[in-house]
């Protein structure tokens, strides 16, 4: 959690730095009166790095993935719950003493 969160923050910081550099680059282009053809290479590298870090953090921080397959161990129903609303006490256990000397103190 801690590591993932720090990485996520780092990714967001890198992304915002890329945005800031792009704005500065555009301002510089206006001064030198050149056409904007594309962002400089260091901004592109920053964008890719920020994207990677943010994606990694988003996948790890919220937790584990749950299986959606119906036959995976987490989803496969192997037993129905006992029908406790219809539980009857008049069963064969009556003939066999449980040997529990339970007492509430």
């Amino acid at each position: 959690m801690g590591v993932g969160f720090v990485v996520g923050v780092l990714g967001v910081l890198i992304l915002s730095h890329a945005a800031y550099s792009t704005i500065q680059y555009r301002a510089m282009l206006k001064i030198t009166e050149e056409e904007f053809s594309g962002p400089p290479i260091n901004v592109v590298v920053e964008l890719i790095a920020g994207l990677m870090l943010c994606m990694w953090a988003a996948l790890t921080v919220p937790g584990k993935f749950l299986s959606i397959l119906s036959h995976s161990d987490e989803n496969r129903v192997v037993a129905l719950p006992e029908n406790l609303d219809f539980m009857i006490f008049n069963h064969r256990g009556k003939a066999i003493p449980m040997g529990i000397d339970a007492k509430l103190k």
Partner: protein
């Protein structure tokens, strides 16, 4: 519904508590959540918590839920005296509560004084005529007394009002199966499959009922439902695999001579036989010879 992971977790926790490893409260919570009926263990572990004032006060308001759980477990273990003590504690804490009233009526049931229990339930119903649990208890009480027709009648009446109650449908289906009234049981299982189509066990029971009914059409439907069980469990349900083998064998016997679907049938059969053999080899080598003999006899017939 108890999934494979949850089942393993319960069993692990149970042996852990049994060997003095702690975790009794987690175990009791899990049993309550999964609605398991392990009354002896619940009584034992629950008492050990309730008899320890320190552990008991650490639970906070959950303490009273535990009292109720253990009281029902005590009734199931034929210790009405213990259950009575618990009910008294709850009665003192929540005077005039319906839930405690139900518990007291259940206690009367456990003691076998049916008339008094019936009276108690009727008075509870007067206050709230749509109390589902009390209605269900009355059906269960009829069953406990061996009065199955009355149980069926009251369940049918109950289901006319509360049609979405799966537990009641399941209980009715099981009663019908126990009376060998398979057509009615099949209807109940259809309802269950409709309301919860992803639970393989309902498909399996429905297929079992249809196979028992017999007849070509029913057998073919049963085969389809066994197949859907296999689909939903990823082939890990041995009973469904056996069901396919039996169904195809029975269909083959019925349609001898006019084999329209013979190819599909034999393919299904051999596939499930292969799956069974693989499963047995992996999990139970000693019974493997038995399996081969059974499959051989099915193919010959």
């Amino acid at each position: 519904m108890v999934s494979k992971t949850e089942e393993e977790q319960v069993n692990r926790l149970e042996s852990q508590v049994e060997n003095g490893g702690g975790g009794a409260w987690e175990y009791l919570c899990l049993v309550r959540k999964l609605k398991l009926r392990r009354s002896d263990k619940v009584l034992k572990f629950g008492l050990s918590i309730l008899n320890d004032p320190k552990k008991r006060s650490a639970l906070g308001p959950e303490e009273w839920t535990l009292y109720e759980e253990v009281a029902v477990a005590a009734m199931d273990c034929q210790c009405p005296d213990v259950a009575k003590e618990f009910t008294k504690v709850l009665q003192k804490k929540f005077p005039g509560s319906k839930r405690v009233g139900r518990l007291e009526a259940m206690l009367l049931e456990a003691k076998g004084s049916w008339a008094e229990a019936e009276k108690a339930y009727m008075s509870l119903l007067e206050d709230n005529p749509l109390d589902q649990i009390v209605h269900k208890r009355r059906a269960a009480m009829a069953k406990a007394q061996g009065n199955i027709p009355l149980a069926i009648e009251s369940l049918n009446k109950y289901l006319e009002i509360f049609m979405a109650d799966q537990d009641a449908w399941r209980e009715l289906a099981e009663i019908y199966v126990s009376l060998q009234m398979y057509k009615q049981a099949a209807f109940c299982y259809e309802e269950l499959i409709l309301s919860q189509p992803t639970i393989p066990l309902f498909h399996l029971s429905y297929a079992d009922v249809l196979y028992t009914l017999g007849g070509l059409e029913n057998l073919q439907t049963a085969k389809k439902y066994y197949a859907s069980t296999i689909d939903l469990t990823g082939g890990k349900n041995t009973r469904a695999l056996f069901g396919i083998c039996l169904c195809t064998a029975a269909i083959g016997q019925l349609t001898k001579g006019r084999n329209k679907e013979d190819k599909e049938n034999s393919q299904l059969q051999s596939l499930s036989a292969v799956a069974l053999e693989k499963d047995y080899k992996q999990r139970n080598q000693s019974k493997h010879s038995l399996l081969t003999a059974t499959l051989k006899s099915l193919k010959l017939s």
